[in-house]
């Protein structure tokens, strides 16, 4: 069966859920080979990748790969594309994943598709464009299809693969050592899931006010990630990396709760493909209602504490 390369997305050796989604999808297209790029590879990682169907695991765990920005990962993948001729390369459509995909496309003279939510037979990718208003099917016409998939687009399903390890040594070029990461600053050390990967996102808007603790409490009661509208990040009430929308993150969770958010088109562009949308807003005419599956017209400062109580009671 045709080999499909899957770039593993991991932080400090911990594999992100999107990788398991990509392996699951890769199994429907061919034989998945996971590509580990950077330090932190362990037996735990090996077990996890095999559990989700990796037949092979290419391990390139030199520190250099993580110490320099993006380019080393593209170089590693390009060398594997050259030597193994895979049928396709799947990458997470995260900010960094897309950058790797772009550079890899140039190196291998291949077409690249970003923000896909599905890949069908013949490597036909499905992409929502214009904030989810239009669904496009597209195909790579030259080279090896490089497809970046959004987190949460496939349900990860375990199915054991052989997980045969193969060490890969890459001699990084000077060009790949152009931008050196000298420090990683972790501002938020929370146990919350990451925004783009979370199954549930609780987002607050201007209606919440400067104190975001009510949103954080609701998020924690549901094991959810916290999101925010631009009105909130602009005011400095919450950091920009949590902004959902056109100039922030795109999320497609199972459940999106929007509290005190009017639902401007630029906000909806980042969340309207969520499976279920729940709204709390005191203005019954706000545009967000157009996409709500359920909602309460009321003051979020009254509704949310009660909701949190109810959730805690029922647990």
């Amino acid at each position: 069966m045709a080999e499909i390369l899957v770039l593993v997305e991991q932080v400090d050796g911990e594999i992100k859920k999107v990788t398991l989604e990509l392996l699951t999808l890769a199994r429907s297209l061919g034989e998945p080979s996971a590509v580990w790029a950077g330090p932190g590879y362990t037996d735990v990682a090996k077990a996890r990748l095999s559990e989700y169907g990796a037949e092979k695991i290419y391990v390139a765990d030199s520190a250099d790969i993580a110490d320099y920005l993006v380019a080393p990962k593209a170089e590693l993948l390009a060398s594997l594309v050259g030597s193994r001729s895979p049928a396709a390369v799947l990458i997470a459509s995260t900010t960094e994943g897309k950058e790797v995909a772009g550079r890899l496309a140039i190196k291998t003279d291949s077409g690249v598709i970003t923000d896909a939510v599905g890949v069908a037979e013949g490597f036909v990718a499905e992409q929502p464009v214009f904030g989810g208003g239009v669904i496009v099917h597209s195909k790579v016409a030259k080279g090896t299809p490089i497809i970046a998939l959004r987190p949460n687009s496939t349900q990860p399903v375990a199915a054991a693969g052989a997980g045969t390890e193969e060490k890969v040594d890459v001699a990084l070029s000077d060009a790949a050592r152009g931008a050196r990461v000298v420090e990683r600053v972790k501002e938020k050390s929370s146990s919350r899931p990451e925004l783009t990967e979370a199954a549930i996102v609780v987002s607050g808007g201007r209606g919440v006010g400067a104190d975001f603790s009510i949103i954080e409490q609701l998020a924690d009661s549901l094991g959810a990630a916290v999101g925010a509208s631009r009105a909130v990040t602009d005011s400095g009430w919450y950091p920009h990396e949590f902004q959902v929308g056109q100039t922030g993150k795109t999320v497609a969770p199972q459940l999106y709760i929007a509290a005190g958010i009017s639902g401007a088109i630029q906000h909806r562009a980042g969340m309207q493909t969520a499976k279920t949308i729940v709204v709390i807003n005191k203005d019954g005419q706000a545009p967000i209602w157009e996409i709500a599956d359920f909602g309460v017209v009321g003051d979020l400062h009254k509704v949310l504490p009660q909701l949190i109580d109810e959730i805690t009671k029922r647990k």
Partner: protein, 260 residues
Amino acid sequence: MNIVVCVKQVPDTATERKLRSDDSTIDRSANGVINELCEYAVEDALKLKEAHGGEVTVLTMGPDQATDAIRKALAMGADKAVHLSDEALHGSDALSTSYALSQALKKIGFDVVILGSESTDARTGMLAAMLAERLGVPQLTLASKIEVDGSAISIHRQTDYGYDKVEATLPAVVSVVEKPDPFKPRYPSFKGIMAAKKKPIEKIGVADAEIDPAQIGLAAAWSVVSDFTAAPPRGKGVVVNDEGDGGTKAAEFLVSKKFI
């Protein structure tokens, strides 16, 4: 310092955006505006010039009406512009666009190239990385902060957990993210708008930038759209008024959907 800022004209997101039925490319006949993240790129370019001297050149690839975006950048304070415009470029994908822009950049020359991290129409978020790859210079992307000291450049790269501090040596390609107040892009002043009318915009075509016609346009595209449809509308939802039990009702809904 020779600063080039890549600016894109995009369809206004407040209007309905469409793909063309004839060739599935983005319909650019609608209201065009400067891509918002490109305004941040212009702002950062101007700040670098203010701190280190030099010149800010705007580079845009796009049809004739893209001059609106160029004028906006000039009105904000950029010195001059290069407008790469050619029928042959119509339908170019990310690979072609990065190639065409890299050829134009080689011609213009630069110490630093600044881009928005993403455009609102294509939204690939790949262009800066691809330009760095094509030009063989360091990639400093998703910057929330830029610092230059002689030939050293460093940025704060926005990440999910905070930021990474990344360093390189000029020349380099930088892309920038949105920033909160008070780091918003400046508004053009009346004086700026008047001055922009006199600033030079050099129009160049494919041949001027030594762009190989076989690498651009719809015919060269590395990926092709096979079909597109409007997304199905969402069903009508259930709305309740809070009568002291709104939170309970919301909880009941979440239970019914098995989220609790």
